[in-house]
């Protein structure tokens, strides 16, 4: 089966300890996360800071090693892959980072940056590599002169285009993008989103797209996973989730997202409380401490994912 399948993914981080022997604590970043990214689809991961969305995106590529669960890409078990197999897999799975300032090497020209992945994967002769690097630039909307310049000569939007070119030069099938437009201004953000749209259609790429901005998710993703404190709490087609959210947390997230229309101001922001720390998560449903509809059951038992409509799943005792 092609595409990406993630089943029961779990990742905990241990904080503290070390040779000074301090107190350790366990941050439950991701708990039992399962989802698919079918070929050619764009799947969004959305949630607030500390919900584990970035950890999921990194665990899929084994940039952090998952503790439990399986990740399958085009039928290959990613977690069981040997280093040699992993290198092959990574050629097909590439990453775009959030911050275009810190993710480019300031001492390398754009040509060196774009050639590096081809060299690592021992692809083509020097002449072929040069050809491929030169061919990728117009695709991301950069002029050929850009090749022999350094990152500091480019604006944020242009640097993000370079980051995208670096991911695409290996002709991947899956691109994992962690907040690729969050650091950009609105007008530039729209340029990059449109570029990603075009590339997705032209190259039939699949995307795992991490964002905290529901507007960006709505624009770019067919399917959305909503996360809260390491748990997947709602899953389904993006428009259905945003127009008719089922989980109380998704409702809160949707209502709190500002809309550029003064006639639909957020009516009830009286909702108090903040996200608990993932180092000390609540028992039962992780959202029960802030949920207006919590019942005693919610404090005890973590709800399972249930199908409430075709293709829509939610983890909540109300359903």
């Amino acid at each position: 089966m092609n595409g990406l399948q993630v089943r029961g993914l779990k990742k905990h981080f241990i904080l503290g300890g070390g040779f000074l022997g301090g107190k350790t604590s366990r941050v439950r970043a991701v708990e039992n996360m399962s989802f698919d990214v079918p070929e050619g689809a764009s799947v969004g991961l959305v949630g607030e800071s500390g919900c584990g969305k970035s950890t999921v995106s990194r665990a899929v590529l084994r940039l952090v090693e998952p503790d439990e669960g399986t990740v399958t890409f085009n039928g290959t078990d990613v977690r069981a892959a040997s280093p040699a197999q992993m290198r092959k897999l990574r050629q097909k799975m590439q990453f775009i980072f959030q911050d275009p300032y810190s993710s480019l090497n300031t001492r390398r020209t754009i040509r060196q940056t774009l050639e590096e992945p081809l060299k690592v994967h021992r692809m083509g002769s020097p002449a072929e590599r040069r050809e491929r690097v030169e061919a990728i630039l117009p695709e991301v909307g950069l002029p050929q002169e850009a090749l022999d310049r350094y990152p500091h000569e480019f604006s944020g939007g242009q640097r993000q285009r370079i980051g995208i070119a670096r991911a695409l030069v290996l002709e991947p099938e899956l691109v994992v993008a962690d907040e690729p437009v969050s650091a950009l201004d609105v007008s530039v953000q729209a340029q990059i989103l449109r570029l990603l749209d075009d590339l997705r259609q032209r190259r039939t790429l699949s995307f795992l797209f991490v964002s905290h901005d529901l507007g960006v998710i709505r624009h770019f993703c067919d399917v959305t996973c909503v996360m809260y404190l390491g748990h997947l709490i709602e899953y389904g087609p993006t428009e259905e989730i945003l127009d008719d959210p089922a989980h109380p947390y998704t409702m809160l997230l949707r209502e709190s997202s500002p809309v550029p229309d003064p006639t639909s101001r957020i009516a009830n922001a009286k909702m108090t409380g903040e996200i608990p720390s993932p180092a000390n998560p609540p028992t039962g449903c992780p959202f029960h401490t802030r949920c207006p509809r919590a019942t005693p059951e919610c404090k005890e038992v973590m709800p399972k994912m249930k199908e409430i409509a075709p293709g829509r799943q939610v983890a909540c005792h109300l359903y």
Binding site: V186, A190, R194, L214, S256, D261, P262
Partner: protein, 326 residues
């Protein structure tokens, strides 16, 4: 009603390689008591420099206010001595910043930081100030203020740190609050809480707020009036309802179309081509002309801000000629 803050023709320049270049050019802004003015723009539009110029917090070398006046309480702040200015900062005018962790002192308890302004500006005793700090933390809705007042900033979450910053700013009952992207670093659910808190505080205290942001969604939430800035100039100003219902300047219109919205399906976003010009390379005529879809020969001359309706001004000759037919 006389405005609380009345900026006229403010120009702030920075030195770049031996030349002085204007980051903010001929800005007119005024804000009344019990009013929130949102200043919206992208990076490099000069919105933060406007706020820093108001409080004269710019670096002593390499930056200067070259023209204009900042009217506050019948005085021109640009003419005051540094000593007079420091009596106003944190007292009559307070400011909150984007990143609460870097603006708070990590070695002082939150309570002491709130009390500091009261000791300096209001001459309160330590016990009075500590009591007032507790009351302020309660007012900004920090839970369990009696205990939290003795906590250090690292013990607070991001949202609570921003509330603590607001408490510090409000301690001396300022007439004017300058808020520079105060919710940008916060999660959306916490952002909604902080926005409604600021709105309530404005109403309770009759305060004037200048709210600087790049997010049009946030503007629609909190503003009474809006000034849109681009490349150091105000390109459009209107009441909040008018601006969103009937944007006149092509830049305002383009910004609204470039923003992905959560509440409706947009088939395609319309990006604005190019990027904001750097401060040493601003075009001579209309600053937005190089990125504008409606350029006419008349755009080569620098346009001025002209009325296009009641309480509504725009800096665009092409659109202004057609009146409100935008």
């Amino acid at each position: 009603m006389t405005p609380v803050l009345d900026i006229k023709g403010l120009t702030t320049e920075f030195r770049v390689k031996n030349g002085w270049h204007a980051a903010v050019r001929g800005i007119d802004l005024s804000v009344n008591a019990n009013e929130t003015l949102a200043v919206v723009g992208e990076s490099g539009s000069g919105k933060s420099v406007t706020a820093l110029s108001t409080l004269r917090l710019l670096p002593q070398t390499g930056a200067r206010i070259s023209r204009g006046e900042v009217g506050f309480g019948g005085r021109d702040l640009t003419k005051l001595s540094e000593r007079e200015m420091s009596r106003i900062r944190g007292n009559d005018i307070a400011m909150i910043f984007q990143e609460p962790m870097t603006s708070l002192n990590p070695t002082m308890t939150v309570g002491d930081q709130i009390a500091e302004g009261l000791l300096i500006h209001r001459g309160m005793s330590r016990t009075e100030a500590a009591k007032e700090a507790r009351r302020l933390l309660d007012e900004v809705r920090v839970p369990d203020p009696a205990r939290r007042v003795n906590d250090y900033p690292h013990q607070f979450s991001g949202g609570m740190r921003q509330r603590a910053m607001i408490a510090i700013a409000l301690a001396c009952r300022p007439k004017l609050l300058l808020a520079d992207e105060p919710t940008t670093a916060l999660d959306v659910t916490v952002q909604a809480q902080v926005l409604s808190l600021l709105d309530d505080l404005k109403r309770d205290r009759g305060m004037a707020i200048v709210f600087i942001t790049h997010n049009l969604g946030v503007v629609a939430q909190i503003a009474d009036r809006v000034a849109v800035m681009y490349a150091g100039e105000i390109v459009e100003t209107a009441t909040c309802d008018t601006l969103f219902a009937d944007p006149v300047h092509p830049y305002t219109e383009a910004l609204l179309k470039a923003m992905p919205r959560v509440d409706r399906k947009a088939e395609s976003l319309e990006p604005i081509p190019g990027s904001v010009p750097s401060i040493s390379a601003r075009p001579a005529g209309c600053v937005y002309a190089p990125r504008c879809n409606y350029v006419q020969p008349s755009c080569a001359a620098h346009p001025s801000l002209v009325p296009v309706g009641g309480n509504h001004e725009a800096r665009c000759p092409v659109r202004a000629d057609k009146g409100e037919a935008a």
